[in-house]
């Protein structure tokens, strides 16, 4: 095991002035673009990809990787300040992060997000360096049965996200699952709920859904209240964390990092599952679960570290097996191919300087991100002092341009307006959008894997219980249901007893 010499090779490659410059350029562009509402890593990478064709493969990949996690990072800023998640994995950051911002604690929320992400990034980078090959093998153990069970686990857990009625939260998950069914069915190739509109054949885009349910509906209800400004104008004190906050965040960050590192290697929903489950875990083990969703700092620290860790470890399947686990990484795989490098296990042996160089640059990039962002926090927070009547048209402009650039199609813009109306109605009815988003993202995967599993087993559902990994996730889900049910029963009993006393 010559990890030391490998890392040395990596750092030697990554710290050449040229590569440092590209790394910095990448994280800077990524951060700035990620901050723009409605524009996330997917569009950014797709658009900037051609400009990297002329670079050397290493510089190109270093820069693209920098854009990727820079955009992820900038996206957290938008989630916290404007309640606009750039991608599914930052939906949970909105829950407590934006509440903190409304209470004048935006600076603290951003600082926690930055520090948590940096810590998680460092751990994840180290993990890629040491464990990428065995971890990649674990991700291969996930067959359709395991996927189905882990998604069931995630969906059941997401009920914890609800701060209001549990029945309504379950209903919202189901609505999300149904919205996820729109489009071409992977298993049969049939078009469902498309109503003859070919733009719907790929399903509802995540950006359209998030911008509708969070962006537009939030703007409408803020305008209606006409009071949002006062809340934000309040005290903008507390840029930095108090010592107590810092200490309470350490364990949350550690747990978030762990779930991010582990779930990030799962192709597909890794980062989403990671950030949602990190949040769920914090809320579950907290002595004060009521405070989540109302600006609990742990609700920012845990999912932020989880999604950053997952963003890094999601490189593992690409670098070791040649399998891109999400759309962003598929673009990266394209970038490698255009430079004549076939992503896969051979990369480590045939292009060691590329493999280790990219890994080393991830650490350097994370360091740059924190140096770049801590001072920027002050500027971002000041954005909130822009009058809302000036700010929201700007949000709309960026959202709309972002929506158009996903597919170079205006259909998504109209769709978003409709989803905005739906989101507004749900806000009015006290139905929360976060469970809907999780159902939307995981639903198609759940269906696909369930059906594939049943197809391959010729209709025998016992496969879900005979495979150990699948069984353990199902058991965990059962435990969660029971654990969620018990306190409710207990409460009822208590109420009953109190009734007796009266």
């Amino acid at each position: 095991m010559d990890l030391y010499s490998n890392l040395l090779l990596g750092f030697n490659t990554a710290v050449t002035p040229m590569n440092l410059l590209y790394c910095f350029g990448g994280v800077l562009i990524g951060t700035l673009i990620g901050v723009l509402p409605g524009i996330g890593p997917v569009q950014t990478l797709a658009i900037l990809l051609p400009t990297t064709y002329s670079l050397s493969p290493i510089s190109a990949l270093i820069m693209l990787a920098g854009i990727y996690y820079g955009a992820q990072y900038g996206g957290s800023t938008t989630s916290i300040l404007m309640n606009l998640p750039g991608e599914a994995s930052s939906v949970v950051t909105c829950l407590d992060g934006h509440q903190m911002a409304r209470q004048g604690r935006a600076g603290a929320a951003l600082t926690v997000a930055a520090l948590g992400s940096f810590f998680a990034g460092c751990v994840a980078t180290l993990m890629i360096a040491v464990l990428s090959i065995p971890l990649a093998d674990i991700s291969l153990k996930f067959g359709p049965a395991e996927y189905f069970s882990v998604i069931v686990f995630g969906l059941i857990g997401s009920i914890v996200l609800a701060s209001g009625s549990i029945i309504k939260a379950i209903g919202m998950i189901v609505v999300g699952l149904l919205l996820g069914m729109v489009g071409t069915d992977v298993t049969s190739g049939a078009q469902r709920f498309c109503f003859g509109v070919s733009e719907l054949a790929d399903g509802i885009g995540f950006v359209a859904l998030a911008m509708g349910l969070f962006g537009i509906s939030d703007i409408i209800s803020s305008l209606e209240k006409g009071e949002k400004r006062d809340i934000l104008k309040g005290k903008l004190t507390g840029f930095m964390l108090s010592k107590k906050e810092f200490l309470t965040c350490i364990p949350a960050t550690l747990r978030g990092t762990l779930s991010g590192c582990l779930l990030g290697i799962l192709p597909g929903g890794g980062a989403v599952l990671a950030s949602f489950s990190a949040y769920m875990l914090e809320k579950k083990i907290s002595k004060d679960p009521e405070s989540f969703g109302k600006g609990n700092i742990k609700g920012v620290a845990a999912p932020e570290s989880a999604n950053n860790a997952a963003a890094q470890t999601s490189f593992i399947p690409l670098l070791t097996l040649g399998i891109p686990s999400n759309v962003v990484l598929a673009i990266m795989a394209g970038a490698m191919m255009i430079h004549g490098i076939q992503p896969g296990p051979r990369v480590i042996t045939s292009n060691p300087e590329l493999f280790w160089g990219v890994i080393a640059s991830m650490w350097i990039g994370n360091l740059m991100l924190i140096i770049l962002n801590l001072p920027l926090i002050g500027i971002w927070v000041r954005l909130l002092s822009v009058p809302y009547r000036v700010l929201y048209p700007a949000i709309l402009v960026f959202c709309c341009i972002g929506l158009y650039s996903v597919n170079n199609n205006t259909f998504d813009i109209g769709l978003t307006a409709l989803l905005g109306l739906l989101g507004y109605i749900f806000i009015k009815l006290d139905c929360e959008p976060a469970p809907l988003i999780l159902g939307f993202v995981l639903g198609p995967m759940m269906e696909e894997n369930f059906r594939r599993c049943m197809l391959l087993s010729h209709g025998d559902p016992s496969v879900f219980f005979t495979r150990p990994l699948s069984l353990s996730f199902l058991l965990l889900s059962l435990i969660m249901v029971v654990a969620a049910g018990l306190p409710a029963l207990k409460k009822k009993r208590e109420v009953a007893f109190q009734g007796d006393d009266l």
Partner: protein, 322 residues
């Protein structure tokens, strides 16, 4: 003297400008920048090839050539979009057998007609299909596969990157030639299929060579390739192994119907030149495809031939997208 020299110079500049302008007007019958529309997101195989070609063609044609991505609905949105663009050579579309051969057979209401709405310009590359099994599988060749399938009919499942894709139908062709009923499981693209094969979740998979690379010898074993000649020196074709089937996928360029013949010929020549340039050929080979290029007639013949070839297979499968 001085004056005449000046005037002479002025006149000559004027003359040169004029000839240049006139020359432009005569030769350049395509207005403005030319765009190659890729109906898929940036970074995929057809996007990469389009960008490589665009880069060469702007020199050949002497005018800007840009690539525009118009993804959606497996390429149908972009195809519909180009159908409505002016037929003056300023817009081209990258197409493949799914868009031009399979879709008209499986969609009852397709928003375009490959024959009536478009004119072929050039075929720009081809790719073979491969049948592979997990490296841990006991199966070593096609003969072994057939024996194994006959012994384990319950395991006769194969994966493809998408329902209704050419690899899906090629798999049905394999089953038919081998006389075995095979269950098709579709994946959401090449990456998940590859993962399933590596993780031994499915006994075999069929995909294009481009994505299912030969770069995982310790995880995946390629049993056969689908071309008329070998793609990999040590992997025989289906034909060599006794199954009389072959087939390749391709990428080609089309323009909206009614584009003047002269413009088509000019674009076609530019594509042939671009693909034949050594660096582009090399890049295409590195991606696992073959830089096989034909002019407009050649491409038209390929489309016709493939239509005749796949129509019975697709119809026999009963596959319908709506």
């Amino acid at each position: 003297m001085k004056f005449t020299l000046k005037r002479w110079r002025f006149c000559s500049v004027l003359l040169v400008l004029f000839t240049l302008f006139a020359g432009q007007c005569l030769a350049q019958d395509i207005k403005g920048p030319i765009k190659i529309v890729v109906p898929y997101p940036a970074g995929g195989g057809s996007d990469i090839v389009a960008r490589l070609c665009a880069d060469k063609m702007k020199d050949t044609l002497g005018q800007p050539v840009i690539v525009e991505n118009k993804p959606g609905a497996g390429g149908r949105v972009g195809t519909e979009y180009v159908k409505g663009l002016p037929a003056d050579g300023s817009a081209m579309l990258v197409v493949n057998p799914a868009l031009f051969v399979v879709n008209p057979l499986v969609f009852s209401k397709l928003s375009y007609d490959p024959e009536k709405d478009f004119e072929p310009v050039a075929q720009i590359m081809t790719y073979q299909f491969v049948l592979s099994v997990p490296a841990t599988s006991p199966i070593k060749d096609i003969k072994g596969l057939i024996e194994w399938l006959k012994k384990n009919p319950k395991e006769a499942n194969f994966g493809s990157p998408a329902a209704g894709s050419l690899p899906h139908f090629f798999g049905l062709l394999v089953g038919k030639a081998a006389g075995i009923e095979m269950v098709h499981a579709s994946y959401n693209g090449s990456a998940p299929l590859l993962t399933a094969l590596m993780g031994n979740q499915i006994p075999m998979g069929i995909d294009t060579f481009e994505s299912e690379s030969a770069h995982h010898p310790d995880k995946i074993r390629i049993l056969a390739t689908s071309g008329t000649s070998r793609k990999l020196p040590d992997v025989p074709t289906f034909k060599e192994q006794g199954l009389d089937i072959e087939g390749v996928g391709w990428n080609g360029i089309v323009v909206p119907a009614k584009t003047p013949k002269a413009i088509i010929d000019k674009l076609s020549a530019a594509f042939v030149k671009a693909i034949k340039s050594p660096d582009v050929s090399e890049k295409i080979k590195q991606m696992g495809s073959d830089p096989i290029v034909t002019d407009s007639q050649g491409f038209a013949a390929v489309i016709k031939q493939d239509r005749e070839k796949w129509t019975p297979v697709v119809q026999a499968s009963g596959f319908k997208a709506e």
